[in-house]
Structures are given as structure tokens and as C-alpha cells.
Amino acid sequence: MALDKKGIAQRIAQELRDGWYVNLGIGIPTLVANYIPEGIEVEFQSENGILGMGPFPFEGEEDADLINAGKQTITTMKGASFFDSATSFAMIRGQHVQLTVLGAMEVSENGDIANWKIPGKMVKGMGGAMDLVASADNIIVAMMHSNRAGVSKLLKKCTLPLTGVGCVKKVVTDLAVLEIKDGAFHLVERAPGVSIEEIQSKTEGSLIVNGEVPEMSL
């Protein structure tokens, strides 16, 4: 069965490693914080200016001056710090953040990503996404395999204005975990009960399948 958004977040959480600083984007990526594997310590960075982001506050304890990049009220963990936007992006561009997880509207087989604009329809802006994808070594895209109209989001070539070129190396969708290398999507894992044929039929870009592809263990 295809994963729900929580399942995608749960699978991505398995990629976390002890001692990492991690930037989580808006949407599915935010949920990753709920599934940190036991025994490891990670610290979340939010590009509006906090390291050591904690969970949402208890009702009545919200602070208008303490939000994440999604403008949601948050709390701090012990040892947290605040900083200005230039310092925040120095952490990002300077590759001091070990993992970036973000959503996308389209990803191409050579690692291009589009997630900020639909010409004539929707223009929200790129926020920090262009800085994040241009600099991070380790980027995981969290998204549904197809859009609401059933069209594949894993393409030969992106059709929407790009956010970054050749930067995505891993994608986790409701159907699969895929690595991007040598101009193709490589199928690494399947969601429980999802067939290779289904993944193949819903992937427009080149898909490489090597032998038996294991199911995710969640």
C-alpha cells in the first residue's frame, strides 16, 4: 500500500545520523521531526534564525517572536541559539548543515528540482529553497509520486521554472525510495506491497531497477 505523508516522513527519518544539523522544509519534511530514531541526537535548523528547534508550544504558551520558517509557533530545545538571516544562510551555503529535506512539485532524472512557481497561476516565491538546494551536499526530496491529477512528478525534464539544477540525489515518495545518479532514477526500496510495475508506470523519467528491490521497513 502506498504510504501516507506520515509514512514518507517516517522513512526519511531513517536517514538521520547522530550529530547532524538538519533543515526541514514546509509540509511533509516538518513531520520528520516526529520520528527521530532512538539513541541518536540531531538538531533542527530553521532558516529564519534558530538552531535547536523544539516541538509546538502548549496552548497558551505561544510566543509571536518564536516561529519556524513555516511561520508556525514553536519552542526551543536546551542549547538552542538564535541568529540573523545572514548568519543563517552562512550555515546553509557554508555547508555546516548536514541534511536538507524539502518538498517539490517536480524532480527530473538529472536531479533538477522545481518547487516555487507555476507560471500564470501560483507565485509564492522561492524563500530559502534556492540557497538550500544550491549548497547542501545531502538533499532529500519528500513528495507524492504523482500530482493530484495523477501525473508523474518524477520526470525526464522539469516543466516548471527550476529551483536548482542537478542537486537532488534522493527522493522519498509514497511509493518508493529512489536515488538519482548518472541521469536516471534508481529504485532502492518499494513501499510495502507496492509493485515494481506500479512504480515503473508512475515514473515518467528513466527508472533503473536492479534485481529484487526490497520493501521499506517502517
Binding site: P57, F58, E59, D65, K71, R93, K117, M126, G127
Partner: protein, 231 residues
């Protein structure tokens, strides 16, 4: 040097039609809400506003947009604001969307006397159009220029009469860089204290970057996304 201005009216004195303003804040967090309300009253128009966001429909810079006082916005993210999207798609409003980190660094550079810098952000995208590309360490970068403004308007938690500023939590965001990049920088603070009332070790923005400081009459500090958990 005493930088204290009596009230918001005097603080925004000299802001005229067609000027370029920088306004601190991220979303509705850390925005100079008293000064924005005063600009609505003065009716100054044709403004170019450099600010990460454009507020929401009925608060923050959204108020100036509703009033058609803004000619151009330079921002990184403008979602959550229907009037903004409407004015942009209809062509009434000029919009320059730039990556958030480039926006922050362009302001910092403007205040620091660095005319331009290379960044990898935006390479291969619309943002790179007409910009010089140069490769460093095997990776392409684009040339981004510094930003400055006729007036920068920032919001701080505490300030002293010398213009030294301390920000609270994530309300710091763009405020320190913008304070550096204004020809005249106006700081509105929640609490104004005498010189000596702040610990010099804990000042975020030194008073040299601030020309006018005043204590805001009231701060609504609206929350854009109130998220909580249950006990």
C-alpha cells in the same frame, strides 16, 4: 549620542514618494508595525519595499499594498497574501523575487561596503538571467549586487538611547542587516532604556547603524500560524 525621537510621526519624517525602504521581519515576526501603520496614515506612495515577505492581507506590509502605496516589492516569499498575488499577476505591482539567503547577504553587503558577491543560489534558474556566472572550485556561481535603501525600518525588543539594539528570539531575522544598509535607519523598540541600561556584551546591533530610535506605542504582534500541542 542621543538618537531618541519622540514619536512615530517624527520617526518616519522625510520618507517621501518613490523612495526605497527596507523593512525588517520574517512573516509577521519582528516587523516594525508602528512605523508601517504611520506610513499608511501619511499616504506616501510609489514606494519600493525591500522585505522578505509582504505581510498578510490586513496586517504588516499588506496594509500598504491594500492602499496601493507600493510600486515595487523585493522579497523572497509572498504566499499567504491574496492582494499581493492579485496585484502581481495583474501587473499593477512590480515584483523582484530573490532567494532568501541572497536577499539577506545583499542587505548585509550593502551595509558593509561590499558592492557585489558570488553565490551558488539560483544558478540555472530564472534568478540567474542576465547575471554574470563564474566558476569557483568547479561550481558555477552568479553575481549578486548589494542593496541599500533611503530608509531602513527595523524592530527590536530593547534599545537604548544610543541606538544599540537587542532582538528577541526569531524576531531578529533581517533586522540587523537592514539596519546596516539604510542611509537613515529607524528602530522601533518595545522597551527603550537609558544608555548603560543594556549589557554591551549582549548587543546585537551597535548604535552606529541606527539614526532614530523610539518606543512603539503598542505592539499587536500578530501570529500567522498558531500551532500548539496538547498537554
Amino acid at each position: 549620542m542621543n538618537k531618541v525621537i519622540n514619536n512615530v510621526t517624527d520617526a518616519v519624517h522625510g520618507i517621501e514618494d518613490n523612495m526605497t525602504l527596507m523593512l525588517g521581519g520574517f512573516g509577521l515576526c519582528g516587523i516594525p508595525e508602528n512605523s508601517i501603520a504611520e506610513l499608511v496614515k501619511t499616504g506616501v506612495k510609489g514606494l519600493t519595499c525591500i522585505s522578505n515577505n509582504a505581510g498578510v492581507d490586513d496586517f504588516g506590509l499588506g496594509l500598504l499594498l491594500q492602499n496601493k502605496q507600493i510600486k515595487k516589492m523585493i522579497s523572497s516569499y509572498v504566499g499567504e497574501n491574496d492582494e499581493f498575488e492579485r496585484q502581481m499577476l495583474s501587473g499593477e505591482l512590480e515584483v523582484d523575487l530573490i532567494p532568501q539567503g541572497s536577499l539577506a547577504e545583499r542587505c548585509r553587503a550593502g551595509g558593509a561596503g561590499i558592492p557585489a558577491f558570488f553565490t551558488p543560489a539560483g544558478y540555472g534558474t530564472e534568478v540567474a538571467e542576465d547575471k554574470e556566472v563564474r566558476t569557483f572550485n568547479g561550481k558555477p556561481h552568479i553575481l549578486e549586487s548589494a542593496l541599500t535603501a533611503d530608509f531602513a525600518i527595523v524592530k527590536a525588543w530593547k534599545g537604548d538611547t544610543e541606538g544599540n539594539l537587542v532582538f528577541k528570539a526569531t524576531a531578529r531575522n533581517f533586522n540587523p542587516m537592514m539596519a546596516m544598509a539604510g542611509k537613515i535607519t529607524i528602530a522601533e523598540v518595545e522597551e527603550l532604556v537609558p544608555a548603560g541600561g543594556l549589557n554591551p556584551n549582549e548587543i546585537h546591533t551597535p548604535g552606529i547603524f541606527v539614526q532614530r530610535i523610539f518606543q512603539g506605542e503598542k505592539f499587536e504582534k500578530r501570529i500567522e500560524q498558531r500551532t500548539t500541542r496538547t498537554k
